[in-house]
Protein backbone atom coordinates (compact mmCIF):
# COMPACT_ATOMS: atom_id res chain seq x y z
CA UNK A 1 0.00 0.00 0.00
CA UNK A 2 2.74 2.42 0.98
CA UNK A 3 4.73 1.50 -2.09
CA UNK A 4 1.85 2.48 -4.34
CA UNK A 5 1.41 5.76 -2.50
CA UNK A 6 5.13 6.38 -2.82
CA UNK A 7 4.89 5.51 -6.49
CA UNK A 8 2.13 8.02 -7.09
CA UNK A 9 4.01 10.67 -5.14
CA UNK A 10 7.10 10.01 -7.20
CA UNK A 11 5.17 10.10 -10.43
CA UNK A 12 3.59 13.43 -9.58
CA UNK A 13 6.75 15.10 -8.32
CA UNK A 14 9.66 13.68 -10.26
CA UNK A 15 9.79 16.27 -13.05
CA UNK A 16 10.24 19.15 -10.64
CA UNK A 17 11.96 17.27 -7.86
CA UNK A 18 14.88 16.15 -9.98
CA UNK A 19 16.06 19.66 -10.88
CA UNK A 20 15.65 20.70 -7.26
CA UNK A 21 17.75 17.76 -6.11
CA UNK A 22 20.41 18.71 -8.61
CA UNK A 23 20.26 22.26 -7.27
CA UNK A 24 20.71 20.95 -3.76
CA UNK A 25 23.81 19.08 -4.87
CA UNK A 26 25.20 22.08 -6.72
CA UNK A 27 24.56 24.67 -4.03
CA UNK A 28 27.52 23.83 -1.79
CA UNK A 29 29.79 23.64 -4.81
CA UNK A 30 28.69 27.04 -6.01
CA UNK A 31 29.28 28.55 -2.59
CA UNK A 32 32.93 27.52 -2.59
CA UNK A 33 33.70 28.08 -6.22
CA UNK A 34 36.24 30.68 -5.29
CA UNK A 35 38.20 28.01 -3.45
CA UNK A 36 38.22 25.55 -6.25
CA UNK A 37 41.66 26.46 -7.49
CA UNK A 38 44.47 24.66 -5.65
CA UNK A 39 46.61 27.70 -6.27
CA UNK A 40 44.18 29.90 -4.39
CA UNK A 41 46.06 32.27 -2.16
CA UNK A 42 44.90 33.25 1.29
CA UNK A 43 44.01 36.57 -0.25
CA UNK A 44 40.94 34.65 -1.31
CA UNK A 45 40.10 33.52 2.21
CA UNK A 46 38.08 36.58 3.06
CA UNK A 47 36.38 36.49 -0.30
CA UNK A 48 35.74 32.78 0.21
CA UNK A 49 34.08 33.46 3.52
CA UNK A 50 32.04 36.27 2.01
CA UNK A 51 31.04 34.07 -0.87
CA UNK A 52 30.02 31.22 1.41
CA UNK A 53 28.04 33.59 3.59
CA UNK A 54 26.31 35.23 0.65
CA UNK A 55 25.25 31.84 -0.70
CA UNK A 56 24.02 30.91 2.75
CA UNK A 57 20.61 32.46 2.20
CA UNK A 58 20.02 30.00 -0.64
CA UNK A 59 19.85 27.03 1.74
CA UNK A 60 16.71 27.99 3.63
CA UNK A 61 15.14 29.32 0.43
CA UNK A 62 15.81 26.01 -1.34
CA UNK A 63 14.53 24.05 1.65
CA UNK A 64 11.32 26.05 1.69
CA UNK A 65 10.85 25.74 -2.06
CA UNK A 66 11.31 21.98 -2.13
CA UNK A 67 9.10 21.51 0.91
CA UNK A 68 6.31 23.64 -0.49
CA UNK A 69 6.42 21.87 -3.80
CA UNK A 70 6.35 18.41 -2.22
CA UNK A 71 3.51 19.28 0.16
CA UNK A 72 1.40 20.67 -2.65
CA UNK A 73 2.15 17.67 -4.82
CA UNK A 74 1.10 15.33 -2.04
CA UNK A 75 -2.40 16.71 -2.04
CA UNK A 76 -2.99 18.28 -5.44
CA UNK A 77 -4.52 15.16 -6.98
CA UNK A 78 -6.83 14.73 -4.00
CA UNK A 79 -7.78 18.38 -4.03
CA UNK A 80 -8.75 18.07 -7.69
CA UNK A 81 -11.07 15.18 -6.84
CA UNK A 82 -12.25 16.92 -3.66
CA UNK A 83 -10.70 14.11 -1.65
CA UNK A 84 -13.56 11.75 -2.51
CA UNK A 85 -11.23 8.97 -3.61
CA UNK A 86 -9.00 9.15 -0.56
CA UNK A 87 -11.98 9.33 1.75
CA UNK A 88 -13.57 6.31 0.10
CA UNK A 89 -10.54 4.07 0.57
CA UNK A 90 -10.83 1.46 3.29
CA UNK A 91 -8.13 2.74 5.62
CA UNK A 92 -8.37 5.18 8.52
CA UNK A 93 -8.00 8.69 7.30
CA UNK A 94 -5.06 9.54 9.50
CA UNK A 95 -3.35 6.43 8.19
CA UNK A 96 -3.71 7.67 4.65
CA UNK A 97 -2.42 11.11 5.58
CA UNK A 98 0.52 9.54 7.40
CA UNK A 99 1.45 7.50 4.36
CA UNK A 100 1.25 10.54 2.12
CA UNK A 101 3.44 12.41 4.57
CA UNK A 102 5.92 9.57 4.69
CA UNK A 103 6.07 9.23 0.92
CA UNK A 104 6.88 12.91 0.57
CA UNK A 105 9.45 12.72 3.34
CA UNK A 106 11.25 9.85 1.65
CA UNK A 107 11.50 11.81 -1.56
CA UNK A 108 12.74 14.80 0.37
CA UNK A 109 15.49 12.59 1.69
CA UNK A 110 16.91 12.56 -1.79
CA UNK A 111 17.38 16.31 -1.64
CA UNK A 112 19.07 16.05 1.74
CA UNK A 113 21.42 13.34 0.55
CA UNK A 114 22.18 15.31 -2.58
CA UNK A 115 23.04 18.37 -0.57
CA UNK A 116 25.17 16.37 1.84
CA UNK A 117 27.08 14.76 -1.02
CA UNK A 118 27.54 18.13 -2.64
CA UNK A 119 28.80 19.58 0.63
CA UNK A 120 31.23 16.71 1.12
CA UNK A 121 32.47 17.09 -2.42
CA UNK A 122 32.80 20.84 -2.05
CA UNK A 123 34.65 20.52 1.24
CA UNK A 124 36.93 17.90 -0.23
CA UNK A 125 37.84 19.79 -3.36
CA UNK A 126 38.01 23.32 -1.99
CA UNK A 127 41.29 24.77 -0.90
CA UNK A 128 40.40 25.81 2.63
CA UNK A 129 42.84 28.23 4.26
CA UNK A 130 44.27 27.54 7.69
CA UNK A 131 41.97 28.66 10.45
CA UNK A 132 38.83 27.92 8.45
CA UNK A 133 36.95 24.66 8.65
CA UNK A 134 34.32 22.94 6.57
CA UNK A 135 31.05 21.74 8.09
CA UNK A 136 29.40 19.61 5.41
CA UNK A 137 27.49 17.31 7.73
CA UNK A 138 26.34 20.11 9.98
CA UNK A 139 24.93 22.05 7.10
CA UNK A 140 23.28 18.94 5.69
CA UNK A 141 21.65 18.15 9.04
CA UNK A 142 20.45 21.70 9.40
CA UNK A 143 19.12 21.66 5.86
CA UNK A 144 17.29 18.43 6.62
CA UNK A 145 15.65 19.84 9.73
CA UNK A 146 14.62 23.01 7.92
CA UNK A 147 13.35 21.03 4.97
CA UNK A 148 11.24 18.62 6.99
CA UNK A 149 9.92 21.35 9.22
CA UNK A 150 8.82 23.41 6.23
CA UNK A 151 7.33 20.28 4.69
CA UNK A 152 5.38 19.49 7.85
CA UNK A 153 4.01 23.01 8.01
CA UNK A 154 2.98 23.13 4.37
CA UNK A 155 1.65 19.59 4.52
CA UNK A 156 -0.56 20.50 7.46
CA UNK A 157 -1.85 23.56 5.67
CA UNK A 158 -2.56 21.80 2.37
CA UNK A 159 -4.14 18.82 4.14
CA UNK A 160 -6.61 21.07 5.89
CA UNK A 161 -9.91 22.28 4.66
CA UNK A 162 -10.45 25.64 3.07
CA UNK A 163 -12.09 26.70 6.29
CA UNK A 164 -8.94 25.91 8.25
CA UNK A 165 -6.83 27.88 5.81
CA UNK A 166 -9.32 30.68 6.19
CA UNK A 167 -8.94 30.60 9.97
CA UNK A 168 -5.16 30.78 9.66
CA UNK A 169 -5.35 33.70 7.27
CA UNK A 170 -7.93 35.39 9.47
CA UNK A 171 -5.64 35.13 12.47
CA UNK A 172 -2.74 36.61 10.53
CA UNK A 173 -4.94 39.33 9.14
CA UNK A 174 -6.38 40.00 12.57
CA UNK A 175 -2.95 40.51 14.07
CA UNK A 176 -2.07 42.99 11.37
CA UNK A 177 -5.35 44.84 11.80
CA UNK A 178 -4.85 45.05 15.56
CA UNK A 179 -1.35 46.41 15.01
CA UNK A 180 -2.65 49.08 12.66
CA UNK A 181 -5.43 50.05 15.05
CA UNK A 182 -3.01 50.31 17.94
CA UNK A 183 -0.71 52.50 15.89
CA UNK A 184 -3.60 54.71 14.86
CA UNK A 185 -4.64 55.07 18.48
CA UNK A 186 -1.12 56.13 19.35
CA UNK A 187 -0.40 53.00 21.35
CA UNK A 188 3.13 51.94 20.46
CA UNK A 189 2.99 48.21 20.88
CA UNK A 190 5.16 46.31 18.44
CA UNK A 191 2.81 43.37 18.14
CA UNK A 192 3.92 42.12 14.75
CA UNK A 193 7.65 42.27 15.58
CA UNK A 194 6.96 40.59 18.90
CA UNK A 195 5.19 37.69 17.24
CA UNK A 196 7.87 37.57 14.57
CA UNK A 197 10.52 37.27 17.23
CA UNK A 198 8.63 34.45 18.95
CA UNK A 199 8.60 32.59 15.65
CA UNK A 200 12.21 33.21 14.69
CA UNK A 201 13.98 33.03 18.02
CA UNK A 202 14.46 29.78 19.85
CA UNK A 203 12.30 27.82 20.62
CA UNK A 204 10.15 29.21 17.82
CA UNK A 205 9.38 27.04 14.81
CA UNK A 206 11.36 29.14 12.37
CA UNK A 207 14.50 29.32 14.46
CA UNK A 208 16.24 26.62 12.46
CA UNK A 209 16.02 28.85 9.38
CA UNK A 210 17.58 31.90 10.97
CA UNK A 211 21.25 32.67 11.45
CA UNK A 212 24.15 32.05 9.13
CA UNK A 213 24.32 29.05 6.88
CA UNK A 214 28.02 28.44 6.45
CA UNK A 215 29.56 25.43 4.78
CA UNK A 216 32.97 26.90 5.57
CA UNK A 217 33.56 28.97 8.66
CA UNK A 218 36.09 29.69 11.37
Amino acid sequence: MFRMILFTQWKWSRLTLLPLVVTAFALPLLSVQRAGNPQTTPWEARQLLNSVESWGVAYPVLATTIALFMAMTAWSADHRGRHVYALSLPIPRWHYALQRFGAGAILLGAAVIALWLGALFAAGTASIPAGLHAYPTVIAVRFALALFLAYAVFFAITAGTTRTAGYVLAIIGGIIVVQVLLETAGVHVALVPFIGDRLILWPGPLEIFSGRWMLIDV
Partner: protein, 351 residues
Amino acid sequence: MSERHRWAVAALAASMMPAIVTAQDTTALVQRLHQLELLRHAAVVAVARAESARREKLDTVRSGALVIVVRPGEAALVRQASGVAWTRLDSLYGDEAATLSSTPMLFFLLGRPRPQVAHLYPVIADSAATSADVAFQLVRAASEVIREKADTLFSNWTGSLLLAEVPAATEHARVYVELVTAPSVAVRRCYAGTADACAAALGLREGILQSWGDAAERRALVAHSTDYLGRLRPAVDACMLGSDSACLDVLHARGFEPPLSTDARQSLVRLTLVSGGRRALGRLAHGASRSLSQRFALAAGMPVDSLILAWRRAIIEARPKPVTIAPARAWTALGWIVLMGLMAFRSSRWR
Protein backbone atom coordinates in the same frame (compact mmCIF):
# COMPACT_ATOMS: atom_id res chain seq x y z
CA MET B 1 27.85 90.44 17.89
CA SER B 2 30.09 91.97 20.56
CA GLU B 3 31.01 95.63 20.69
CA ARG B 4 34.43 94.80 19.40
CA HIS B 5 33.03 93.13 16.35
CA ARG B 6 30.74 96.03 15.59
CA TRP B 7 33.64 98.45 15.69
CA ALA B 8 35.60 96.13 13.41
CA VAL B 9 32.84 96.07 10.84
CA ALA B 10 32.50 99.80 11.05
CA ALA B 11 36.23 100.20 10.67
CA LEU B 12 36.27 97.96 7.66
CA ALA B 13 33.47 99.92 6.10
CA ALA B 14 35.25 103.14 6.82
CA SER B 15 38.44 101.84 5.30
CA MET B 16 36.66 101.28 2.08
CA MET B 17 35.39 104.83 1.93
CA PRO B 18 38.57 106.35 0.48
CA ALA B 19 38.57 103.75 -2.21
CA ILE B 20 34.98 104.56 -2.95
CA VAL B 21 35.53 108.30 -2.91
CA THR B 22 38.61 108.16 -5.02
CA ALA B 23 37.27 105.68 -7.56
CA GLN B 24 36.75 107.29 -10.93
CA ASP B 25 35.13 104.19 -12.57
CA THR B 26 31.32 103.99 -12.19
CA THR B 27 31.26 100.20 -12.42
CA ALA B 28 33.84 99.82 -9.70
CA LEU B 29 31.89 102.26 -7.61
CA VAL B 30 28.73 100.23 -7.96
CA GLN B 31 30.57 97.06 -7.01
CA ARG B 32 31.98 98.63 -3.93
CA LEU B 33 28.62 99.96 -2.89
CA HIS B 34 27.26 96.44 -3.24
CA GLN B 35 30.03 95.05 -1.04
CA LEU B 36 29.32 97.67 1.53
CA GLU B 37 25.70 96.70 1.56
CA LEU B 38 26.61 93.07 2.15
CA LEU B 39 28.82 94.02 5.03
CA ARG B 40 26.13 96.13 6.54
CA HIS B 41 23.71 93.23 6.31
CA ALA B 42 26.16 90.85 7.98
CA ALA B 43 26.68 93.35 10.75
CA VAL B 44 22.98 93.56 11.34
CA VAL B 45 22.67 89.77 11.52
CA ALA B 46 25.56 89.51 13.91
CA VAL B 47 24.09 92.13 16.16
CA ALA B 48 20.83 90.27 16.21
CA ARG B 49 22.54 87.06 17.19
CA ALA B 50 24.47 88.72 19.95
CA GLU B 51 21.31 90.13 21.29
CA SER B 52 19.74 86.68 21.15
CA ALA B 53 22.63 85.06 23.00
CA ARG B 54 22.55 87.72 25.63
CA ARG B 55 18.87 87.10 26.15
CA GLU B 56 19.03 83.17 26.22
CA LYS B 57 19.93 81.66 29.58
CA LEU B 58 22.00 78.48 29.63
CA ASP B 59 22.94 76.05 32.39
CA THR B 60 26.18 74.21 32.97
CA VAL B 61 26.11 70.56 33.94
CA ARG B 62 29.21 68.97 35.42
CA SER B 63 29.84 65.29 35.89
CA GLY B 64 33.40 64.24 36.63
CA ALA B 65 35.49 66.10 34.09
CA LEU B 66 32.57 66.55 31.74
CA VAL B 67 31.43 70.16 31.42
CA ILE B 68 28.29 70.57 29.38
CA VAL B 69 26.47 73.79 28.56
CA VAL B 70 22.79 73.18 28.01
CA ARG B 71 19.44 74.91 27.90
CA PRO B 72 17.68 74.82 31.27
CA GLY B 73 14.85 72.71 29.89
CA GLU B 74 17.27 69.99 28.85
CA ALA B 75 19.49 70.14 31.90
CA ALA B 76 17.78 67.32 33.77
CA LEU B 77 18.14 64.97 30.85
CA VAL B 78 21.79 65.86 30.34
CA ARG B 79 22.51 65.61 34.05
CA GLN B 80 21.18 62.07 34.14
CA ALA B 81 23.00 61.06 30.98
CA SER B 82 26.28 62.67 31.87
CA GLY B 83 26.59 60.56 35.01
CA VAL B 84 26.37 57.41 32.94
CA ALA B 85 28.67 58.82 30.26
CA TRP B 86 31.33 59.88 32.74
CA THR B 87 31.39 56.41 34.33
CA ARG B 88 32.05 54.87 30.96
CA LEU B 89 34.64 57.41 29.95
CA ASP B 90 36.51 57.19 33.21
CA SER B 91 36.45 53.44 33.13
CA LEU B 92 37.95 53.26 29.64
CA TYR B 93 40.25 56.28 29.42
CA GLY B 94 41.38 56.53 32.99
CA ASP B 95 43.26 59.71 33.85
CA GLU B 96 43.11 60.86 30.25
CA ALA B 97 39.40 61.43 30.70
CA ALA B 98 40.20 64.22 33.14
CA THR B 99 41.46 66.32 30.22
CA LEU B 100 37.88 66.71 29.12
CA SER B 101 37.44 69.47 31.66
CA SER B 102 39.37 71.78 29.36
CA THR B 103 36.95 71.16 26.50
CA PRO B 104 33.44 72.13 27.55
CA MET B 105 30.65 70.85 25.34
CA LEU B 106 27.48 72.45 24.12
CA PHE B 107 24.42 70.21 24.09
CA PHE B 108 21.24 70.92 22.16
CA LEU B 109 18.45 68.97 20.52
CA LEU B 110 17.78 68.70 16.84
CA GLY B 111 14.97 70.89 15.64
CA ARG B 112 15.87 73.81 17.86
CA PRO B 113 18.29 76.56 16.93
CA ARG B 114 21.78 76.11 18.22
CA PRO B 115 22.50 78.33 21.21
CA GLN B 116 24.82 81.08 20.15
CA VAL B 117 27.84 80.12 22.20
CA ALA B 118 31.18 79.88 20.46
CA HIS B 119 34.13 77.60 21.03
CA LEU B 120 32.22 74.76 22.61
CA TYR B 121 32.25 71.24 21.33
CA PRO B 122 28.76 70.52 19.96
CA VAL B 123 26.81 67.48 21.08
CA ILE B 124 23.52 67.00 19.30
CA ALA B 125 20.73 64.54 20.03
CA ASP B 126 17.40 63.82 18.48
CA SER B 127 14.41 65.63 19.93
CA ALA B 128 13.00 62.29 21.16
CA ALA B 129 16.28 61.12 22.62
CA THR B 130 16.28 59.20 25.88
CA SER B 131 18.85 59.45 28.62
CA ALA B 132 20.68 56.47 27.14
CA ASP B 133 20.79 58.13 23.73
CA VAL B 134 22.21 61.33 25.19
CA ALA B 135 24.78 59.36 27.17
CA PHE B 136 25.87 57.65 23.98
CA GLN B 137 26.30 60.96 22.17
CA LEU B 138 28.25 62.41 25.08
CA VAL B 139 30.60 59.43 25.15
CA ARG B 140 31.04 59.67 21.40
CA ALA B 141 31.83 63.37 21.50
CA ALA B 142 34.17 62.96 24.44
CA SER B 143 35.98 60.12 22.70
CA GLU B 144 36.46 62.39 19.70
CA VAL B 145 37.86 65.11 21.92
CA ILE B 146 40.29 62.72 23.58
CA ARG B 147 41.31 61.38 20.20
CA GLU B 148 42.02 64.86 18.95
CA LYS B 149 44.22 65.48 21.94
CA ALA B 150 46.36 62.44 21.11
CA ASP B 151 49.43 62.91 18.99
CA THR B 152 49.35 62.16 15.28
CA LEU B 153 51.31 58.94 15.48
CA PHE B 154 48.86 57.34 17.89
CA SER B 155 45.65 58.76 16.43
CA ASN B 156 46.64 57.76 12.89
CA TRP B 157 47.47 54.30 14.11
CA THR B 158 44.17 53.71 16.01
CA GLY B 159 42.20 55.06 13.09
CA SER B 160 38.61 55.69 14.08
CA LEU B 161 37.21 56.52 17.47
CA LEU B 162 38.02 54.30 20.39
CA LEU B 163 34.50 53.91 21.66
CA ALA B 164 33.63 52.61 25.07
CA GLU B 165 30.54 50.74 23.94
CA VAL B 166 32.03 47.76 22.18
CA PRO B 167 31.82 44.48 24.11
CA ALA B 168 35.20 42.79 24.20
CA ALA B 169 33.86 39.40 23.17
CA THR B 170 32.25 40.80 20.05
CA GLU B 171 35.34 42.73 19.09
CA HIS B 172 37.64 39.80 19.69
CA ALA B 173 35.44 37.49 17.63
CA ARG B 174 35.61 39.92 14.73
CA VAL B 175 39.37 40.18 15.05
CA TYR B 176 39.65 36.41 15.14
CA VAL B 177 37.97 36.18 11.75
CA GLU B 178 40.41 38.80 10.50
CA LEU B 179 43.32 36.86 11.88
CA VAL B 180 42.22 33.84 9.97
CA THR B 181 41.31 35.48 6.71
CA ALA B 182 43.52 38.54 6.26
CA PRO B 183 45.61 38.16 3.13
CA SER B 184 49.05 38.59 4.64
CA VAL B 185 52.01 36.41 5.49
CA ALA B 186 52.47 38.40 8.68
CA VAL B 187 48.91 37.77 9.78
CA ARG B 188 49.18 34.07 9.09
CA ARG B 189 52.37 33.87 11.09
CA CYS B 190 50.70 35.85 13.83
CA TYR B 191 47.86 33.34 13.87
CA ALA B 192 50.47 30.60 14.08
CA GLY B 193 51.91 32.26 17.18
CA THR B 194 54.81 34.51 16.19
CA ALA B 195 54.78 37.72 18.24
CA ASP B 196 57.00 39.53 15.81
CA ALA B 197 54.61 38.82 12.98
CA CYS B 198 51.71 40.07 15.08
CA ALA B 199 53.58 43.29 15.76
CA ALA B 200 54.20 43.70 12.05
CA ALA B 201 50.61 42.90 11.17
CA LEU B 202 49.39 45.44 13.71
CA GLY B 203 51.69 48.06 12.25
CA LEU B 204 53.65 48.49 15.43
CA ARG B 205 56.87 48.17 13.55
CA GLU B 206 57.23 50.81 10.89
CA GLY B 207 59.05 50.66 7.64
CA ILE B 208 58.70 46.93 7.20
CA LEU B 209 56.18 46.70 4.48
CA GLN B 210 58.05 43.63 3.29
CA SER B 211 56.99 41.66 6.32
CA TRP B 212 53.32 42.34 5.81
CA GLY B 213 53.06 39.92 2.94
CA ASP B 214 54.98 37.91 0.36
CA ALA B 215 55.64 38.91 -3.23
CA ALA B 216 52.40 37.47 -4.54
CA GLU B 217 50.37 39.26 -1.92
CA ARG B 218 52.10 42.55 -2.61
CA ARG B 219 51.38 42.15 -6.29
CA ALA B 220 47.74 41.34 -5.47
CA LEU B 221 47.54 44.41 -3.23
CA VAL B 222 48.84 46.62 -6.03
CA ALA B 223 46.47 45.00 -8.51
CA HIS B 224 43.42 45.52 -6.27
CA SER B 225 44.03 49.20 -5.86
CA THR B 226 43.10 51.49 -8.69
CA ASP B 227 43.82 55.02 -7.56
CA TYR B 228 47.35 55.56 -8.63
CA LEU B 229 49.00 58.79 -9.58
CA GLY B 230 50.22 58.95 -13.17
CA ARG B 231 53.85 58.84 -12.16
CA LEU B 232 53.35 55.46 -10.54
CA ARG B 233 52.08 53.89 -13.72
CA PRO B 234 55.45 52.52 -14.89
CA ALA B 235 56.13 50.99 -11.47
CA VAL B 236 52.65 49.45 -11.40
CA ASP B 237 53.24 47.90 -14.81
CA ALA B 238 56.60 46.54 -13.71
CA CYS B 239 55.02 45.15 -10.57
CA MET B 240 52.39 43.34 -12.59
CA LEU B 241 55.14 41.84 -14.70
CA GLY B 242 56.73 40.35 -11.60
CA SER B 243 59.11 42.95 -10.18
CA ASP B 244 58.75 42.81 -6.39
CA SER B 245 60.91 45.88 -5.91
CA ALA B 246 58.54 47.80 -8.20
CA CYS B 247 55.61 46.57 -6.09
CA LEU B 248 57.35 47.78 -2.95
CA ASP B 249 57.95 51.16 -4.54
CA VAL B 250 54.28 51.48 -5.38
CA LEU B 251 53.18 50.41 -1.92
CA HIS B 252 55.56 52.79 -0.24
CA ALA B 253 54.40 55.64 -2.43
CA ARG B 254 50.74 54.73 -2.10
CA GLY B 255 50.85 54.20 1.64
CA PHE B 256 48.95 51.17 2.90
CA GLU B 257 47.31 50.38 6.15
CA PRO B 258 48.71 47.53 8.21
CA PRO B 259 47.18 44.14 7.37
CA LEU B 260 45.10 44.01 10.56
CA SER B 261 42.29 46.55 10.70
CA THR B 262 41.59 49.31 13.19
CA ASP B 263 39.32 46.85 15.01
CA ALA B 264 42.35 44.70 15.76
CA ARG B 265 44.45 47.68 16.76
CA GLN B 266 41.79 49.06 19.02
CA SER B 267 41.40 45.69 20.70
CA LEU B 268 45.11 45.87 21.52
CA VAL B 269 44.63 49.36 22.94
CA ARG B 270 41.78 48.16 25.15
CA LEU B 271 43.87 45.31 26.46
CA THR B 272 46.69 47.72 27.18
CA LEU B 273 44.39 50.07 29.06
CA VAL B 274 43.14 47.19 31.19
CA SER B 275 46.67 46.00 31.91
CA GLY B 276 48.24 49.39 32.37
CA GLY B 277 45.73 51.13 34.58
CA ARG B 278 44.57 54.72 34.57
CA ARG B 279 47.68 56.24 33.09
CA ALA B 280 47.95 53.85 30.20
CA LEU B 281 46.12 55.93 27.62
CA GLY B 282 48.13 59.01 28.42
CA ARG B 283 51.33 57.06 27.82
CA LEU B 284 50.01 55.79 24.53
CA ALA B 285 48.56 59.04 23.26
CA HIS B 286 51.37 61.37 24.21
CA GLY B 287 54.56 59.47 23.68
CA ALA B 288 56.72 62.32 22.41
CA SER B 289 59.53 60.68 20.49
CA ARG B 290 58.79 57.12 21.50
CA SER B 291 57.78 54.54 18.92
CA LEU B 292 54.46 52.79 19.16
CA SER B 293 56.10 49.62 20.45
CA GLN B 294 57.80 51.55 23.21
CA ARG B 295 54.59 53.32 24.12
CA PHE B 296 52.67 50.09 24.39
CA ALA B 297 55.35 48.50 26.52
CA LEU B 298 55.39 51.51 28.82
CA ALA B 299 51.62 51.79 28.98
CA ALA B 300 51.04 48.10 29.67
CA GLY B 301 53.90 47.79 32.07
CA MET B 302 55.28 44.73 30.30
CA PRO B 303 57.45 43.92 27.27
CA VAL B 304 55.58 44.55 24.06
CA ASP B 305 55.99 40.93 22.92
CA SER B 306 54.32 39.71 26.10
CA LEU B 307 51.51 42.19 25.55
CA ILE B 308 51.08 41.06 21.96
CA LEU B 309 51.07 37.40 22.89
CA ALA B 310 48.46 38.10 25.58
CA TRP B 311 46.42 39.92 23.00
CA ARG B 312 46.76 37.06 20.57
CA ARG B 313 45.71 34.59 23.25
CA ALA B 314 42.59 36.62 23.97
CA ILE B 315 41.74 36.73 20.30
CA ILE B 316 42.26 33.02 19.78
CA GLU B 317 40.10 32.27 22.79
CA ALA B 318 37.35 34.40 21.30
CA ARG B 319 37.01 32.21 18.26
CA PRO B 320 33.37 32.55 17.22
CA LYS B 321 31.22 29.55 17.80
CA PRO B 322 31.37 27.39 14.73
CA VAL B 323 28.20 26.89 12.80
CA THR B 324 26.97 23.80 14.56
CA ILE B 325 23.50 22.80 15.67
CA ALA B 326 23.03 22.67 19.37
CA PRO B 327 21.12 19.56 20.47
CA ALA B 328 18.40 21.78 21.90
CA ARG B 329 17.88 23.41 18.52
CA ALA B 330 17.74 20.06 16.77
CA TRP B 331 15.27 18.57 19.22
CA THR B 332 13.13 21.67 19.08
CA ALA B 333 12.99 21.47 15.31
CA LEU B 334 12.06 17.79 15.52
CA GLY B 335 9.37 18.63 18.01
CA TRP B 336 7.86 21.18 15.68
CA ILE B 337 7.97 18.67 12.83
CA VAL B 338 6.03 16.16 14.88
CA LEU B 339 3.54 18.78 16.01
CA MET B 340 2.87 20.00 12.50
CA GLY B 341 2.54 16.44 11.29
CA LEU B 342 -0.02 15.70 13.98
CA MET B 343 -1.97 18.76 12.94
CA ALA B 344 -2.10 17.39 9.41
CA PHE B 345 -3.35 14.00 10.55
CA ARG B 346 -5.93 15.56 12.79
CA SER B 347 -7.25 17.86 10.10
CA SER B 348 -11.00 18.23 10.26
CA ARG B 349 -11.19 16.85 6.79
CA TRP B 350 -10.18 13.49 8.17
CA ARG B 351 -12.32 13.28 11.25
